[in-house]
Assembly symmetry: C2
Amino acid sequence: MTSPAGSQTTARAPAPHQHLELAVSTVVFSLRPGPAQDRPTLWLPLVRRIRDPFCGRWALPGGPLEDHHDLAASARETLKATTGLEPRHLEQLYAFGDVDRSGQTDQRVVSIVYWALVRPEEDAEADHGDNVAWFPADETLRRHEDGTAPLAFDHGVILRYALQRLRAKITYSPIAHAFLPEEFPLTRLREVYEAILGRDLDPSNFRRQVLAQGSVESTGRRMTGTNHRPPLLYRSAPNRSRYTLTIEENP
Amino acid sequence: MTSPAGSQTTARAPAPHQHLELAVSTVVFSLRPGPAQDRPTLWLPLVRRIRDPFCGRWALPGGPLEDHHDLAASARETLKATTGLEPRHLEQLYAFGDVDRSGQTDQRVVSIVYWALVRPEEDAEADHGDNVAWFPADETLRRHEDGTAPLAFDHGVILRYALQRLRAKITYSPIAHAFLPEEFPLTRLREVYEAILGRDLDPSNFRRQVLAQGSVESTGRRMTGTNHRPPLLYRSAPNRSRYTLTIEENP
DNA sequence: CACCCTTCAGGTTGACATGACTTTATGATG
DNA sequence: CATCATAAAGTCATGTCAACCTGAAGGGTG
């Protein structure tokens, strides 16, 4: 076998019993009021399967890779078509391709999975019938793992990994802004972090940290009509982080 | 489009002019003496292409995805077949699938790229003729980017990304051990870090850090036959890091 | 308008991590 | 036994971070 990556070998004959399919899916997160209205929590949209295998179960939005679309563009397209969402932040998560993950013996599906963040305003617009719905992320994962309401395919594993990645990434990268509108008081931003990390943060220390690292900048204006001292409004600052790796899906 | 991820849609007709191919490639890193023998540097194996497109250029080892092998297993298999290497650490890097990356208009290649670390002992064993050779990583990247010796396909982009990922990951994860034999003095480990980060580290502070975080444990034994005070030998400790995400390719 | 309530905004303190540097230990060598 | 080379441990100044404290600035209420 001397054929290197990106090989042009055209003679690769798939085993007659397995057909290879390349799909693109996306784990979309949004922040919404939790069950008790204590703290906002992460939600994600799922699509109900209308054919076998896993007919009736919920699955991540996605579809086959579209020709003449790059991977990220294909994720965006498919996501818009299935759910109407156009996320602000989109990033590749992982490629899943275990032999047996398709749920059918005569077919193998390799999925390039993306994860995305949308703002709450963008949540509601789509009405795609009762085959698309939003679910609380942690509860969905819990009910998948205890067998109460399992997801289709290996999408439970994917969801768990996406949650881990989000929680890890938010500690070193200013992605939290993607959940918020253009201008926001620092308390909103802190609530995003608290929701994702699942614990309270000291308002004072949070302010100091986020200002020191320079991921936000003040607009100079203040919020009005508050019941208390009006907070300054901030916007997300142009990214000068050293952590940004060069592969960027966000134009 | 209601077909969710992992879709079973069998009716997807590829555009007649483009054939879709799924490949698996690996960026393998090893530590070897540098050009000047000051400090060891990163090297990687490349494979010379023997057909168009990019005939004669060097490319990452890889090949088409093998049926009845999971993605990581396919990477291991293909790597062993092309270079004889069986890396100690293997991890998925990224999926590359831009429409035009194959260098041919009638074909589209999506590559799932892995990256791997091997120990120097494992380097040399393979003799696959003059179509497989080792190159210094940084110099290869430089000569790709200034046009002196461009790599095939988009493998320059891939190499740059892999180097970034390695340098980022070594700061928060104990992967450096994968370059070393079972037992090693801390100075060896420090040299690995120095080579990858490209700067000297204080031996004393390095020792304190690495012992405090517990990624290595002492064997109790010492090196013998040294020209100086014999150092203690350490081995890598069972991973108790919180940073390890759940998708593990390393059995 | 005096007073209270709430949240904003900035400051202080102590525990701990990090970087630069110094000192002592231990084997081989001649 | 003096010397050499490196290991291993200790010292000290500085920086960072969580926890806590204090005052500021609005609206609401009587």
